[in-house]
């Protein structure tokens, strides 16, 4: 009985494996100790598109209890936020912290399994070094959740994992409970350049597409084989034999069934449209295009398909498929009804300043004549990112019942002078700019550059 419950819960939580029992490598994350906390007098950007002036936020038991006005117990910690701003914790949908950590030495280079163009069997979480100092820097920038992805050398690079941005000796201790896995896929130059240079497929964009399709055909068959088996089993056929379990196909089957969310690295507009057709062909959903330097050219199509664009504010030109980058990309993807624009980093520097990247994109959009107030732009680094990761019901906005992942900024976050004063994860104060005791230091950084005391 209990075992069956665990089995079902495992399926639900992992959102994966046709054949797996309980979720492998389960999350052991536990919220850190918290106290009932009332932030008062703040300008609150809720992440739902609303701005509340002179508002309060009350966190209790790890969740947001209310936003705006309400009652709080007398023993609550009170933070007077006069003149300061409150937002949901920022979320980066595209990080390589832990898998390409600092220091960036070969021994730590664990983000691309460069041995086969299809490595859907690998999981980025198994490469994460939890002592990456980058997690602490990102926390100081207000990042409370992040997805760590494999790199983009492969057509199907493996599973990404969503983490809570807390230090732990294991990645399991950081793993966002119940968050679905991602499947990292890649278009364009990277796979064809890397494998083409080795004299093997793919060496062209048509080779890329043939590569994905071949895999999807196999994965469809795998899904059907399992369905047949389960049907036989349900009808009491005791001789029914399960198909041989395959790690790669487990992942691809999860993506076909919508249990694993597809994150597609793709720069060019025409290639993104090709991918959307392919998704139609094999009946799966592309959740988010990452980098999408040309996403502005197909903003309407993306909105119509309900696909998010995880984009940079201004990077461009480093390769041909990035040559048409413009600074209005994010604002233009945000423009149509249903548009889902996300500011992502793909960088240990960028993740520390997602708010500044959003500010730049907002300013460019405004100059182009688009009406983008801060309460809208904040969704690019909060709610839309949570949607992309399949965790919007849990975090990404300040609404009653959601995880109390909250940032108190020293002023407007849309400024080069903005700093996170306090960061809360599940209601726990995990960063305080004024209190060194609440500024985590990774094992790697501890004890470096010790001074000799006389």
């Amino acid at each position: 009985m209990a075992a069956i419950e665990r089995f079902l819960a495992g399926l639900l939580l992992a959102g994966t494996a046709v054949a797996a029992g309980a979720e492998p490598f389960p999350s052991t994350y536990e919220p850190l100790p918290s106290q009932p906390t009332l932030i008062t007098n703040a300008i609150v950007l809720t992440g739902t598109g609303e701005r509340l002036d002179g508002a309060s936020v009350f966190m209790n038991g790890g969740v947001v209890e209310w936003v705006g006005e309400g009652e709080a117990p007398e023993d609550s910690v009170i933070v007077d936020a006069a003149g300061r701003w409150v937002t949901p914790g920022l979320i980066d949908v595209h990080s390589h912290l832990g898998v390409y950590p600092s220091p960036g030495v070969d021994a730590h280079s664990d983000g691309n399994e460069l041995t086969n163009p299809v490595t859907a069997n690998v999981w980025a979480e198994h490469s994460i070094w939890p002592q990456d100092p980058g997690f602490a820097r990102a926390l100081a920038g207000g990042v409370t959740s992040l997805q760590v992805l494999p790199g983009s050398a492969n057509l199907m690079g493996g599973r990404g994992v969503t983490l809570k941005n807390v230090y732990s000796t294991s990645y399991q201790g950081m793993k966002f409970p119940g968050a679905p896995h991602g499947l990292k896929m890649a278009c364009g130059e990277n796979p064809k350049r890397f494998y083409g240079s080795k004299g093997r497929a793919p060496s062209t964009r048509m080779g890329n597409v043939a590569g994905y399709r071949t895999e999807w055909i196999e994965a469809r068959k795998y899904v059907e084989d399992w369905a047949v088996y389960e049907e036989k089993q349900a009808s009491g056929d005791e001789d029914a034999k399960p198909p041989k379990r395959d790690l790669k196909l487990d992942t691809l089957a999860g993506a076909l069934k919508g249990e694993i969310l597809v994150h597609m690295h793709c720069y060019r507009a025409d290639e993104m449209l090709t991918i959307l057709d392919m998704a139609e062909e094999f009946d799966y959903r592309v959740g988010t295009f990452h980098h999408g330097v040309e996403a502005y050219k197909i903003a309407d199509e993306l909105a119509e398909a309900g696909v998010c664009g995880a984009l940079w504010a201004d990077w461009w030109g480093f390769k041909m498929e990035a040559y048409d980058g413009i600074q209005e990309n994010i604002a233009l993807v945000d423009r149509p009804e249903g548009g889902c624009a996300i500011v992502h980093s793909d960088s240990s520097e960028g993740i520390q300043r997602l708010n500044q990247e959003a500010a730049k994109a907002m300013a460019r959009g405004q100059r182009a004549g688009l009406d983008i107030p801060p309460e809208r732009a904040i969704t690019w680094v909060t709610a839309n990112a949570a949607k992309s990761l399949g965790i919007l019901e849990r975090t990404g906005t300040l609404e009653p019942g959601k995880m109390a992942d909250v940032v108190l900024w020293n002023g407007t976050p849309f400024s080069v002078y903005a700093k996170a004063d306090l960061v809360f994860i599940d209601g726990a104060r995990v960063y305080d700019r004024e209190d060194p005791a609440l500024q985590p230091v990774s094992d790697f950084e501890l004890g470096q550059h010790l001074e000799v005391t006389p």
Partner: protein
């Protein structure tokens, strides 16, 4: 190795082009900016509610209640800030179009051996799309620089004005040397051997090897290096504190004008840098131990260096995204660098460091007119240039990127976008 022959051909072709091409002459505009907050970065300091008149490619006057000459473009600044045109860092703007397209890249000499005579200005293409992309953001000059390829001595560059001219070079050549981590194959994998090679190379400039004797440098290389060993500017890319100290001592002994680029741990030897008068160009966003040469990286590096009296500028080598330098300066200010110092590090300081302050870096009467009118605080990420004047000419504020923007900003387009030609 394969790429050398075509590379050498490209170099020869570039030499021929420079010799033959006509010089672009910018038409001068007459512009009066009224009521601005003018950060002159020069002797006049910061002026509130000031007027600034541009005529004949130069700053004619900065004062109050200036009258507009006939036909002048008059701009009411209403208190908005005006700054000198900004430095675009040490970059490859115009000497490389797309980094992943090797045939479009000319900043690196991968020939094994020491070639201080390698000169990237011979590859400069002012028609590169990167030039207007930087210019519309207010960046009007950059130091073209060779990247380290086959050796620790990368080669020479020079300051170029981003005004579209084929020959818009200013100041003297600047030699680029990369030290520390990633010691090139040529130094056997140890940074200790870098000094051995540099010492021997300098020695060859003093006592040329006899015929048949092993030599590091060509004859041209000896001549070029001799120039740098007698007071010219050498940029040393180096991050670790002890490497920085050794660089200071080496440059002092060899009478080189050293400039430190990188300097992640420069704050640890700030006193020595200040005493030696060695400036630092740093990336103020570098706060992670990205490798073992920058374990001491921290956000207030710029503030600490400034407080110790070190001359500062910024660099991150991002030619395409040179516009990020302004965000970097803002972050340095946010972490304790006084705002005026952050602005100086984008303007007058790099102009002084590279010997082009006569033309760049400050707003002074009689000086070349490169300036920017900003929508707000020039260090703020949400501020944008409202007006850019380059060599006295009002810039169109157009780039390939703004053209693409305007093509796709239109929502109703019956014909393909290819017919939209903004």
């Amino acid at each position: 190795m394969k790429p050398f022959a075509p590379r050498r051909l490209a170099l020869l072709a570039a030499v021929a082009l420079v010799g033959l091409a006509p010089t672009v002459t910018a038409l001068a505009d007459t512009v009066l900016i009224r009521g601005a907050t003018v950060f002159t970065m020069g002797s006049q300091g910061t002026l509130e509610n000031a007027d600034l008149l541009v005529t004949d490619n130069t700053i004619n006057r900065i004062g109050s209640n200036l009258s507009a000459p006939n036909g002048a473009l008059v701009v009411a600044a209403e208190g908005r800030p005006v700054t000198p045109g900004l430095f675009a860092g040490i970059s490859g703007i115009g000497i490389g179009e797309v980094p992943a397209v090797s045939q479009s890249m000319d900043a690196t000499n991968a020939m094994p051996g020491l070639y201080p005579e390698f000169d990237v200005t011979l590859a400069y293409n002012p028609n590169s799309s990167l030039v207007p992309v930087a210019r519309v953001e207010g960046h009007t000059f950059t130091l073209l620089s060779a990247n380290s390829g086959g050796s620790i001595i990368a080669g020479q560059g020079r300051v170029v004005a981003l005004d579209g001219g084929y020959d818009s070079f200013h100041g003297n050549g600047v030699l680029q040397v990369s030290l520390g981590r990633g010691a090139s194959e040529l130094t056997g994998g140890s940074r200790a051997a870098q000094w051995l090679l540099l010492d021997q190379a300098i020695e060859e400039t003093v006592r040329p090897p006899a015929q048949g004797e092993d030599a590091l440098l060509t004859r041209a290389g000896r001549q070029v290096l001799q120039g740098y060993a007698t007071g010219s500017t050498v940029v040393f890319s180096v991050n670790r504190a002890d490497d920085i100290l050794r660089t200071i001592r080496f440059a002092q002994a060899r009478k080189m004008r050293a400039v430190i680029e990188g300097g992640a741990e420069a704050w640890m030897v700030a006193g020595e840098l200040a005493a030696a008068g060695v400036p630092v160009l740093l990336d103020p966003l570098r706060n992670l131990p990205g490798n073992f040469d920058m374990i001491g990286a921290r956000m207030d590096n710029a503030a600490l260096l400034h407080a110790a009296g070190v001359t500062l500028s910024f660099n991150d080598g991002a030619s395409h995204n040179a516009r990020k330098l302004r965000q970097m300066a803002g972050n340095a200010a946010s972490y304790g660098l006084p705002k005026e110092a952050a602005l100086a590090a984008l303007t007058i300081e790099p102009a002084r460091i590279f010997g082009v302050a006569r033309n760049f870096g400050s707003l002074e009467e009689g000086k070349r007119a490169d300036l920017v009118l900003w929508s707000g605080d020039p260090l703020e990420v949400t501020s944008l240039p409202d007006l850019v004047i380059v060599n006295g000419k009002v810039d169109s504020l157009e780039s390939r990127q703004t053209k693409l923007r305007d093509r796709y900003l239109v929502t109703d387009s019956e014909m393909p976008r290819a017919y939209q030609k903004p």
